[in-house]
Subunit: 246 residues, 2 copies
Amino acid sequence: MVADPPALRRADWELPATATAALRRPEQAAEQLAALAAAAEPGARLGTKEELRVHCGVSVGTFNEALRLVQARGVVDVRPGRTGGLFATRQSPLVRLGNSVLALDKDAASVADAVRLRDALDPLLVEDALRHAAPSDVTAMRAELDRMRTAAADLDGIAFIHANWALHARIADVSPNAMLRSFYLSLLEIIESHTLAVQPLGDEPLPEYIQSRYDLHAALVDAIDARDEPRAIALIHEHNMTAHTS
Amino acid sequence: MVADPPALRRADWELPATATAALRRPEQAAEQLAALAAAAEPGARLGTKEELRVHCGVSVGTFNEALRLVQARGVVDVRPGRTGGLFATRQSPLVRLGNSVLALDKDAASVADAVRLRDALDPLLVEDALRHAAPSDVTAMRAELDRMRTAAADLDGIAFIHANWALHARIADVSPNAMLRSFYLSLLEIIESHTLAVQPLGDEPLPEYIQSRYDLHAALVDAIDARDEPRAIALIHEHNMTAHTS
DNA sequence: TGAGCTAAACCAGCATGGTGATTGGAGCGG
DNA sequence: CCGCTCCAATCACCATGCTGGTTTAGCTCA
């Protein structure tokens, strides 16, 4: 039995360039660890750091980096002491959701998809706003409404749509559902980062379109303020039927 | 000017136990880096590894771990070469979404919230299924439907609801919208991990309730198969008005 | 038997020093 | 002026060895 010699030079560890590209060693090791953890029962002991480090074939520092990554992903748990080591963690669905979103390809987030999702979630947020909006929340909404009105008067489409998003964000802020809030706000960001200006649906002239959008949102905030649920729901549906931003 | 001495012993680096708890040094350093990156313009050079390592007051290994973390979060970018170093990155909304979900408190995912979200997304998935379902997809759906029927015949509520979820997952699989798919499937997982059995709405006896749920889903798959959009939409709305699982 | 101590096996940091790749500027010859 | 080579800065790994905390198996002893 020969102890394998230390990998002092790069050639000793750098595997053939084919298909290795772009993935650094810590990430490779992290993948191995994640695979190990996924294959094991939750709570199972995977081994000591040293054992697994050797198994991954990396140095201490690199292994610590890999470990930190999988730990951040909530896939493994490290425990000290005599019976310590690495343990597979039961992955909560929420963590899986986070990771699956992170794993999503960058261009997987088409704006059209995001808009569609946002439209589906809008009614929920309006519902929540109806139920939970405090006076201060409504005040914040009206402030954004003012910005929209100013932008509409200036015919500044860019400012208008930004104020519009801000209003929707204010509405979302009211929801007690953290998941919904977080997701909706991110959708808004996705849309915002790809959208340049307002654009009416069909042939309606822009000033009239902006004005009608403003009126609709003002009515929505009024309905929320008045706790007029049917009206608010109707308005948000109209909102999503007539909007078109690109 | 005195060069500060090496921190050879633990007392040299371990700051007073108050308020430090639970956050390891690599995470602390990662926070510092993230703050730096957030304060800077996207693309700005934050400094060399060595400079920032000293700024964070940690050792090389620890700093590398911190670096790997913020890199995984996509907030910084490390570049080699003479003009290399750390650079602030423009964080994509999708990455922010992923991180915000990961940051969500574990108990933030109440089942009720998840159910509400799922119900809001169901119509979108049915729409997508109507548009994109291939014959093989429908076959898969019918297989789950069979499992539901068997479970219904056995009056096995557990098996029934699992088959039901599997059917919904099949429907979701058809959607070309990766974000929607991913999110919906995770919601299903959240619900699944907290739900024990079917429970009818109101006083309807269980066998009849299960039968009616089966009929509804069977009709839905038929409508998808027949590309009968109005009917499918109507069914999914009925689905979400009458369901109650806990 | 049971309470208490010891020591082994872990992990978390630290420091130092080395090889090799990547990058861009500086200098030089044609 | 252009292209070439060379070099300094910087990163990505590697190896080794140290201090000190935590956990528990196992032993001792009343």
